[in-house]
């Protein structure tokens, strides 16, 4: 016997395949509709490691839940904004997804999110948290499960101040997240600046910047250079003979990157909202099962993908995605066991969470991080005040 809800769901799917029909019927068993998630992330080209981790973390949570009501469509944006926009149009118009997620890069998120939310879709960000979407540009259908871009840099600034650094040399690539990074660092760090440099996005040779650092008389270096840029910088920095302490956000010291940096990263202090040694049951299970499933340690990005999926699953248990108001309220409750411990949303639907200081260590043959202190407790971004949501 097919109930009214299930009929409705089936109708919404239109030309659904036999598979998604089973999903829809399964949905009826729970009393709530099936959810179709469109994941747009970077799976090829430079930076693919980040997207792969988000996808793997997300799918691990979906598999573990055993929930057959959730269908995930995954597409590769190749780190190109135009491709991401095309994919989101396709997912919204022909795939008829209910929720979009997956984007790694801020410039891609800015190209996709406003139009997706304007078309009445939910967007849950597993990584990028550009300023523009946190303050005046916040939207009731946009949730960020990772952080606002400034957050980890603010923590780095707070840590630098607490450590007593008074003359930092700071550098970041010249793009939205890079500008957010330097702004964030300066918000909590109140010493002098020995130098402030914007590098080219995708730059791989830092000889010129390293020479400037050497000549600047700085007492510490803060840098935000995600992906391959960070690997290049750290190797060249280690080779330059400069021995100033380095601080930075987790992105350049992440599990996927550390093995390629090697000894050059040992001892560096970096800030993150997650690490594999955070002591809670959800995290322990996550680290173990991720390693068993994929044969590598999870990264920060994987943890964010995992949390994003669990957030969706928690909302699905409470409300039907077709009832947008109820589903939104369920998302906002953030009633799931986050692997980072305590987690809740602020009024702008960005996280309020602890941010830790980690140090790069070597465990056997594997380079990884351990938490050494807490930089900021229950930290919320400053843009929340400009957001009109309650």
């Amino acid at each position: 016997m097919i109930s009214k809800t299930a009929k409705h769901t089936l109708k919404a799917f239109g030309a659904a395949t036999a598979l998604s029909m089973t999903l829809a019927t399964g949905a009826f068993a729970d009393g709530h509709g099936a959810v179709k998630v469109g994941m747009i992330t970077t799976l090829t080209g430079g930076g693919a490691g980040l997207g792969v981790d988000i996808r793997d973390g997300f799918m691990l949570a979906v598999e573990q839940s055993g929930n057959t009501n959730i269908e995930v469509v995954i597409e590769d944006d190749q780190r190109k904004p135009d491709v991401a926009v095309q994919l989101s149009d396709k997912m919204i118009q022909s795939e008829k997804v209910d929720i979009l997620t997956g984007i790694v890069w801020s410039n891609l998120a800015l190209a996709v999110v406003p139009s997706a939310t304007a078309q009445g879709k939910f967007y849950l960000s597993p990584n990028a948290g550009p300023t523009q979407l946190a303050g005046k540009g916040c939207h009731e259908n946009y949730f960020n499960v990772a952080w606002q871009n400034d957050n980890l840099h603010e923590a780095a600034g707070a840590h630098a101040k607490a450590t007593g650094y008074a003359n930092s040399f700071i550098l970041a690539p010249n793009y939205p997240a890079g500008q957010d990074a330097l702004t964030g660092y300066k918000r909590y760090y109140d010493g002098a600046l020995a130098g402030e440099v914007y590098t080219k996005l995708g730059q791989t040779d830092y000889a010129a910047e390293i020479a400037q650092i050497r000549a600047s008389g700085a007492d510490s270096v803060f840098f935000f250079l995600p992906g391959g840029m960070g690997i290049s910088f750290l190797k060249q920095y280690a080779d330059s003979g400069i021995e100033l302490p380095v601080v930075g956000p987790a992105f350049s010291f992440d599990q996927g990157i550390l093995q390629a940096v090697g000894d050059a990263a040992l001892g560096v202090q970096n800030t993150s909202q997650w690490n594999k040694d955070i002591d809670n049951a959800a995290n322990k299970a996550f680290v173990e099962t991720f390693q068993a499933a994929y044969g590598r340690l999870p990264s920060l990005y994987a943890s964010q993908g995992f949390d994003t999926a669990n957030l969706i699953l928690s909302a699905m248990a409470k409300a039907d995605v077709k009832d947008q108001d109820a589903f939104r309220a369920a998302l906002k409750e953030a009633d799931f066991a986050s692997v980072r411990g305590d987690f809740k949303f602020g009024n702008n639907q960005h996280p309020i969470q602890n941010i830790y200081v980690r140090e790069v260590i070597k465990e056997g043959d594997v380079y990884t991080n351990k938490i050494i202190s807490t930089a900021l407790t229950n930290h919320q971004d400053v843009y929340a005040a400009e957001c009109g949501l309650n």
């Binding site: 080219k200 791989t204 000889a207 910047e209 020479a211 400037q212």
Partner: protein, 305 residues
Amino acid sequence: MSTLLLIEQVLNGLQFGVMLFLMAAGLTLIFGVMGLINLAHGSLYMIGAFAAAAVAGWTGSFVLALMASLMAAALFGALIELTVIRRLYARDHLDQVLATFALILIFSEATRWTFGSFPLFLDTPDWLSGTVMLPGGIQYSLYRLAIIIIGLIVAAGLFLLISKTRVGMRIRAGENDREMIGALGVDISVLYTMVFALGAALAGLSGALVGAIQSVEVGMGEPVLILAFVVIVIGGIGSIKGALAGAILVGLTDTLGRTVLPVVFSTFMEASAATSVGSALASMLIYILMAGVLIFKPTGLFGSA
């Protein structure tokens, strides 16, 4: 800005230029001799770096890794010349661009299948790490100094190869008149495969040398490829001398622009605005240089019409 810093930056520019030369030399040789635009040159650079990282991982020897990069890139170069590129010589440039772009995608995905999506580890050998004190009290990275020296040796070797040897004579003859040299009994297809493999090997060597101080990852070749094209357009397409001059010019412009421009702007602007305007302008500088050169010398510095 002190003189010492300026000299160090000139060295950095030189090192960057020499590295670009290794890439551009192969590209310009292939274009000059065969009239082929090879977008897959960046993939050969990537193959060199991955081969070096893999061999360094197995054997721990940097010298073996460099040799592996040369051989792997030359091998793949010869392979694609024999299977794909050979069919493109008679076609127009658009077909060549399309086919070699397809090769980029094939190589990138094949590399990902083989090595995974995460960057590989390749480090400088112990005997080349650290810094040396140069005359005048400049502390400079030993490895970068080695890159400059290797690059200059390769440049000298190429000049000798092309100007003094029989093969070089054929290459020059091939540049001037492809049909005539064939009619004179030179096996043009063997010559083409050789030149292509030589260009590929240089790209592979450059990838391996740079891979040790940067990151060895899929897609690492494309940004360099763009710069290499700028270099050969500035130097004059087909000219090795032009490639060297263009590479060093681009290397110096880019490095010095990045450091000097923000300083210059900060003399009359507020500090953080100067940094962002200066660095934005610095990233355009080499293209402005290219446009400037093309206005006065439309065929490039050493190009023939």
